[in-house]
Symmetry: C2
Subunit: 353 residues, 2 copies
């Protein structure tokens, strides 16, 4: 504790983002295969976006894959598996919602050192809750018992979505200055930033079974709250022509917005004060605001960017569809990058996980 | 060595298949959510088959997910990663071919303890080769650096396919007695049975860098040969009405056939002598034929079951499409299960991984 303490950053927590990006770049350059023949469908261009889009026959599908990451280690410490089971759905279907796709189904992948029926049942209950919330089906799954490869459990999945008749993918290309940025509330950390949080918790020896100051639930339960699923709310507005851009605020925090469009600046000048958990992490961990906003969702899990004339009606439809209170975060300006002027923060690159 | 040695089985190698199946059953019962609304598409029934089938809009998609499993540990021992990179594609697209779907694209999932650019580049080259061979696209991927969850690397993926206009899924419901069972050659072990093989190799202290008796390549390289990709060959015949059933001979060996139809018996009375690698594993490991045929592909990686009148023409089309020599393995009879009468083997259940 104290002022001399080295602040917690992702680099210090053991994840060297640059090394990951170099390795990934090598893989992607090597994997760039000749374009497959037309008979296998064709790409609907959106490289680097939340989901891969592909035209097959008379439909366009969206595919995305993600894991729950090191949040499972908190689940393991608490012996609670339902929340992270639900996260398998949330982390994936929200990425489908972020291109305007409606989820059709999900496949889960569970890697474990040993199959434990009670854990698996809890994961299954969480999956069921997430699937109901996303209105999507379990299309299959893979369970591998590989004690030589994993310690504990890894939870991941892949979701496939589609575009209902008449709907076009929403990729951010129509964003323009003066568009309004709306935010939907998150429920805590969702499934991002856990590598950073866990290292810090371990070093600080903070007990997971006791509430932090000002909270009622034990800290561990608060950390575990499942990723909020925005699918129904976004599906309710995705056919509106006034919706110009969508973003799931996942790994990479507000920098996710850069993925939508590099020819506008996202000015977030009214970001609401994040709830107590984020403030607690920042303060007790000595983590800079810059690191906080590029790592955590900071209370806003999903962003909808709309034409100014449509802002009020779209906010109302979102709320009617169960999105909770919709917050106006700011607007688009000429330039590029993401700016939180009241905090003195500017991000140029996505750099997310 | 010698007669008193306890034979190698999967149970002895550390994978308790029954415990896996109990745990999985708990998960699936818990995950059984209410049917999603029609607006999310609808299932095209084939539970327990190689791929989940789902009707979206005017198309049917097929989704399947699998990992390379413990074969990566052989890759690690040899420092060779291109083959298992290709396997990410093979293990998944062959499962799409097994329902008659044409692959559209794949997403890969790489979990690793540390990102290594050289390894990643090799995995990428393997992915590219597999994608070219399957004529499918890389739709996205997830790379997670999670040293607290994995040791080394886990490689997996999810593939999405579709049915070209006019083609129906081939699920085995049209199988009937006297249909002819054709086999396509495998290239070694593909990606199955490695947990068994590796434990045995370790105990026997067999060197991976030297050829087994009768082989030219080092044993490690022989074990690593990538999964043969049957996609183009199967795509060439999948519109033929005489094709009644398709099976990818993956984990579970010949028992995979039971997945197609429980109201016919698969009589495999002409299984060709498997190549030297399988004989070597069986003999040196003291592994029973029963265990061998329920664990490994035994030289046949894919099975095509056809109407008797169409057998010759379909075999010829498969060979012209690059399937290699097509072998007649037997025919369907009244009853159920899989029988290799010349070996005295009968399997009632799938029980695969």
């Amino acid at each position: 504790m104290g002022a001399a303490r080295r602040p917690w950053t992702y680099a210090r927590s053991g994840v060297d983002r640059r090394a990951v990006s170099v390795a990934l770049d090598r893989l992607l350059r090597a994997a760039r295969s000749p374009r497959p023949p037309r008979s296998a469908g064709r790409p609907v261009g959106a490289p680097g976006h939340y989901a891969g889009l592909w035209a097959i026959g008379r439909e366009v599908i969206a595919v995305t894959t993600d894991t729950v990451g090191t949040k499972v280690l908190v689940a393991d410490a608490l012996g609670r598996w339902e929340e992270v089971g639900e996260d398998i759905v949330g982390v994936n279907v929200n990425d489908l919602a972020a291109v305007g796709a409606r989820p059709a189904g999900l496949v889960d992948t569970i890697l474990c050192a040993a199959p434990d029926p009670r854990r698996f049942a809890a994961i299954g209950r969480g999956l069921a809750r997430g699937l109901r919330s996303a209105r999507c089906a379990l299309l299959g799954g893979e369970t591998a018992v590989v004690p030589e490869i994993v310690r504990g459990i890894d939870l991941g999945g892949t979701a496939v979505g589609f575009f209902p008749r008449g709907r076009r993918p929403i990729l951010g290309d129509r964003l323009r200055p003066n568009d309004i940025i709306l935010g939907l509330r998150s429920t805590g950390l969702h499934a991002n930033g856990f590598t950073l949080v866990r290292r810090w918790l371990a070093e600080e020896r903070l007990p997971l079974d006791r509430p932090r100051p000002g909270a009622r639930r034990p800290l561990g339960e608060e950390l575990l709250r499942p990723t909020r699923i925005y699918v129904r709310a976004i599906d309710a507005i995705a056919d509106e022509p006034g919706v110009h851009g969508l973003a799931h605020i996942s790994g990479g925090g507000v920098r996710n917005l850069v993925r939508l469009n590099r020819r506008v600046r996202f000015r977030l000048d009214q970001w609401p004060a994040p709830d107590g958990l984020f403030a607690f992490i920042a303060e007790r961990g000595g983590i800079s605001l810059r690191e906080m906003y590029q790592t955590f969702n900071m209370g806003i899990g999903f962003v909808v960017i709309v034409a100014p004339s449509a802002a009020a009606s779209i906010a109302e439809r979102l709320e009617r569809a169960g999105a909770g209170p919709v917050v106006r975060l700011g607007s688009l300006a000429p330039g590029h990058g993401v700016e939180l002027p009241h905090l003195g923060l500017l991000y140029d690159e996505y750099g997310g996980a």
